[in-house]
């Protein structure tokens, strides 16, 4: 009899170990069970005694769906990157392979990192949550000092590394840990303010100083997603939404450039040679691709029309060359990966890993959708790269690392969810 989540939700919870034993006899016994309780609880005082007696989940094979989808996206991403970037690379860097060669190395390193990290127990991260938090905060402070590197009016780089990337993963780790430690805390308003609110506000303020709007939005989004998954009362959203809408409206009427940006977003062609350039170039690339595209490598917009086609607008170029068909294929891969990610979360062995997997997947989903929304003109243009596709060492390595963590968590997935496959 196949087990279902419905059964899992039944008040009388069956013993998980028995289920493993009965439904999955092929489970490799050679893998030693990770002493998870020790790992998680080591750093904290007074773990509830009941956890000690809780049944253990042995590590098993990782989620092949995630692994293969990530590899597929990475390969397609590299192809897209080469096609999209060579013109730009030739013009500005003097070498057509400038971007692809560097990204190829990053990708290889990323795959190695993913595999290595997938071997490291996710529980490790909980142990260093504090260090992570302080490190990210210190780096975010450093980046706005003269140590940081400014480009295009924003100071986001610190010796080739974006501290905001660290902040994103820190939010995931910290929030997951705090919720796992004190599930009830987030059910009160007071519990939300501290520590969740404090950390978010600290990040927001620091990112605002860079400034880095898209990172701000992603971190907020991640925080909210983890809190919601962790059990925050949904009606808290009411005031948050009202306040957010109010602030946005006030912004709209207070600043002329916001209104301008808004109108440019609605019709980038009205000011194509000016403010609307990026949006218009992206939309022209996508729209002129048609159903089947111009053919791989035959795109026109990458020839210096699209701003940084190797980066935020790489998918516009992909849409132009591969058409709706090629675009939907990539969308499906992303959607499937996200679906798998959330599946792992739901089957996670404990709350911490569940929320970690949720956060990692949500981060992937938010970043991907934000990029797609920007390039298709659904939201105003803001800097948002596309995971696995966009050029950039830090982001790719972080992304692959996160996938490694997700894969690691998948190895402890409860069997009843795995059995659904």
């Amino acid at each position: 009899m196949a087990s279902t989540t419905r059964q899992a939700r039944s008040p009388r919870r069956p013993d998980p170990r028995r289920r493993i034993d009965t439904t999955r006899p092929a489970l490799r016994p050679d893998r030693a069970p990770v002493p998870r309780d020790a790992a998680v609880m080591h750093a904290h005082a007074a773990p509830p005694a009941r956890t000690r007696t809780r049944s253990r989940v042995r590590a098993h094979a990782w989620d092949m769906g995630v692994f293969s989808t990530v590899l597929l996206l990475l390969v397609i991403g590299l192809i897209a990157l080469f096609s999209a970037s060579y013109s730009n690379a030739l013009f500005y860097q003097g070498s057509a392979t400038y971007f692809i060669s560097r990204q190829g190395i990053n990708a290889a390193a990323g795959v190695v990192a993913m595999i290595v990290i997938s071997k490291i127990s996710y529980k490790v991260y909980a142990r260093f949550y504090k260090e992570l938090m302080w490190l990210s905060l210190i780096l975010l402070v450093l980046v706005i000092t003269p140590l940081g590197t400014a480009s295009k009016g924003a100071q986001r780089w610190l010796f080739g590394f974006q501290p905001s990337e660290l902040a994103k993963i820190t939010v995931i780790v910290c929030f997951s840990y705090w919720i796992a430690r004190d599930t009830k805390g987030i059910r009160s308003f007071k519990g939300l303010i501290k520590p969740y609110g404090f950390l978010l506000v600290a990040y927001i303020v620091l990112l605002f100083l860079e400034p880095h709007t898209s990172a701000m939005m992603i971190i907020c989004g991640l925080g909210v997603v983890i809190l919601v998954a962790g059990g925050m009362r949904l009606w808290y959203f009411g005031p948050i939404l009202v306040a957010g809408a109010g602030i946005l409206t006030a912004f709209y009427f207070a600043f002329e450039h916001v209104q301008e940006r808004f109108s440019v977003w609605l019709d980038p062609f009205s000011n194509m040679r000016g403010e609307g350039w990026q949006g218009a170039m992206s939309q022209i690339a996508i729209g002129s691709g048609g159903l089947f595209g111009r053919g791989l490598g035959k795109g026109m917009q990458k020839h210096l029309y699209l701003p940084e086609p190797q980066n935020d607008f790489i998918f516009s170029s992909w849409c132009e060359e591969m058409g709706l068909i090629g675009a939907l294929l990539v969308l499906l891969l992303f959607a499937y990966l996200i679906f798998r990610g959330f599946r792992i979360a739901r089957a996670a062995p404990d709350k911490f890993s569940c929320l970690m997997a949720t956060g990692i997947t949500a981060k992937l989903a938010i970043q991907t959708l934000m990029n797609l929304f920007v390039i298709t003109g659904i939201i105003p243009v803001t800097g948002a790269s596309l995971p696995f596709f966009s050029y950039g060492g830090t982001a790719l390595l972080m992304q692959m690392g996160e996938m490694g963590i997700l894969l690691n968590i998948s190895r402890y997935a409860r069997i009843e969810t795995r059995a659904e496959e």
Partner: protein, 801 residues
Amino acid sequence: MAAKGPNNQMRARIGMMTLAFVVLGFGLVGVRLLYMQVFHYDFYSQQAASLQTRDTFITPNRGKIYDANMQVLAESAEVERIVISPKGVVDEAKVNKGISAQAQQQTLAQILADELSLDYDTVLAKVQKTNSEYEIIAQKVDKDVSKELYAKLDEAGCTGVYSEPDTKRYYQQGSFLSAVLGYVDNDNNGAYGLEAQYNDVLSGTAGRIVRVQNAQNQDMTPETEQYIPAQDGDSLVLTIDSDIQNFLEKHLETALADNPQARDGVSGIVMNVKTGEVLAMASLPDYDPNSSYTITDERYIEELKTNVQAALAEAGVTAEISDKYYQEGGLANLPESVQQNEELVDKLTQIRSQQLYKMWYNPVVSDTYEPGSTFKLMTVATAYELGLTSEQDTYYCGGSLMVGDWSQPIRCSNTSGHGTQTLTEALMNSCNVAMMQIAAKTGMDRFYEFYKAFGLTEKTGIDLPNESSGIFFDLNDTSAWNEVSLAVASFGQRFKVTPLQELNMVCAIVDDGKLKQPYVVKEVLGSDGSVKSTTETNVIRQVISEETSAYMREAMEAVVSGGTGKNAYVSGYRIGGKTATSEILPEYDDEGKVIDTEDRYTASFIGVAPMDDPQIAVLVSINDLPESAPHGGGAIAAPVVGRIMEDVLPYIGVTPVYSDEENDRRELTVPSVIGSTEEQAAATLAQAGFEYRVVGDGDTVTDQVPSSGVRIPASGKVILYMGESKPTEQISVPDLTGLTPDECRSTLEEYGLYLKQKGVASSQVTGSTTASKQSPAAGTKVNIGAVVTVEFSDTTNVNDR
């Protein structure tokens, strides 16, 4: 509890998130992509095409305009449009070196202003428009000028200046033929004259290069380039002969100088009687189509000044307007006090535009006038054709005639009356009374029928723009078209035609009645020089019979040889013609008061030659003369036609034939008689047709005046020096103005000079035939034996009104 796996609420919430991200998020993107890539594909691919491809227009070369002898009159050359990108002027690197942005802009503006002769402040204002990427600095800049400019710019290290190719129309001979040629505007489109009429033929078709380019305007692969070559414009070959045009313009200039009070200048046409080809057409003062917006002619400037002053006075403004404004216009050339008065500026601009329109206008085609007495040819030809009159008929003129219910008698030019005259004499006298009688016989209907048949109610169809068709009486209005109006119409008053219509009518009258369509363009040549089309003579209809035409030729010749047209006489040629002095209807102001203080007239003459086989017809009109100035067509217009004929007839190959009466006008070549005895010399000279006189008392001729081979009038005496040599000191030519031919001849003889007599046939010379022009002018130093050409005219019995 905390370390337990995710509870149901968490799993449910994560499930909802999966749904939200995957279905809503990706679904939204998918739908958006479908919308963009499939449903709105056309819009985006069009945007892409217009973005990624560059269209470069290739300007075709505008065709040339040649005269009948393939001499180039107008051609285009490549020039440059100097453009700046104010954004690209300031070099940041230089700013860092301490050269301020402002200083860089000023340097550039100074160089541009100096090299292109522009106003520094205007240029600087354009340079400082730093939001702009495109400001035109100068149009139609010659290549050598721009080359020098770029050399200067390089030297100074200025950036942001570039050129765009353009073409400029060059009219090598300046104002020559300007009324016919017209000019082209800044966009190389014909604005007036032939340039406008044949703009489509001349301009050709622009070509295109469609290139696929990246955002840095670099060409992509060459195979994506599409090249559509430009089709150069065709060229025109005119019927206009530059030499004849030169004769016409030269003599019109003289006429204008002689009649400075002619408010609307002078105009003239030379036509080929048999084909309808226009050989020359001019109107003075004229303008230079190379700079068509500049007014240079003194007369135009004066007129403009008068109108501008009137406008200033009306506005109650006292301001000194610079000459530069009168010449070039332009707001900047007005005083600042005027510049601020927008209404006044508009008014002044309007006044100047009107002046320009008047300058560009071709009045012989576009303006109408009351033809006056030249129209009597039509009155006579019509009646003759209808058999209502003949050479034998006589008409009595008592000086005036009562017509219909008109309260006053209509007067003839000779108020004491011409007495009894034959039909030919009536024309020679230009008798109004006789014409009224003849027209009355013809009747209103038939008169109009012929008027129409002569093409006077419609445009001639000449290939020039803005042709007018004239104004006749309203046929349906009996108060307008009645016996009285028929009577005044018989001598060409109170209706209007264009000078071209009038001349074309005369051509029909002398060319066996055949009315033709006049034309200016003989051939259209393709850009490779091949003939694409040729204009054929288009005979519209035969209006009168050959017999009537033959009689009219005779009568017209009589007008010149013995009538009011005698001042158009050219010895050796059979010239016919008709004079006209037509009244101009007074202008009224808004209150209905007559503006002019005196009557005004158009003096004109139409001449045809040679009368045994008419080849050319010439019309000259001197427009808008006041009563107080000489204004008789026979007195002032006829001599001009005579001078034109004298130049044109030999040019077109008509050899002069002198009748016995004209023997004195014949020119003979002096033979050499040096070394011979007086007897021998006398024989030789007699054989050559000369008389002689002797100076000195030697045995043989030691010198002679004129030298052998020189042509002098047959009436001149050769001087033989016997034992002496001819004096070498130069003689100052005496002033002969006002002297009769005989007085002139004897005066010149005293000086050892010869008279070449021109104008008025010897048989027509009276006591009032006097020298009006001489060449060389009085006071000029000449050698002994030189020929002095004197033109005689007669102001008596040439009155035609």
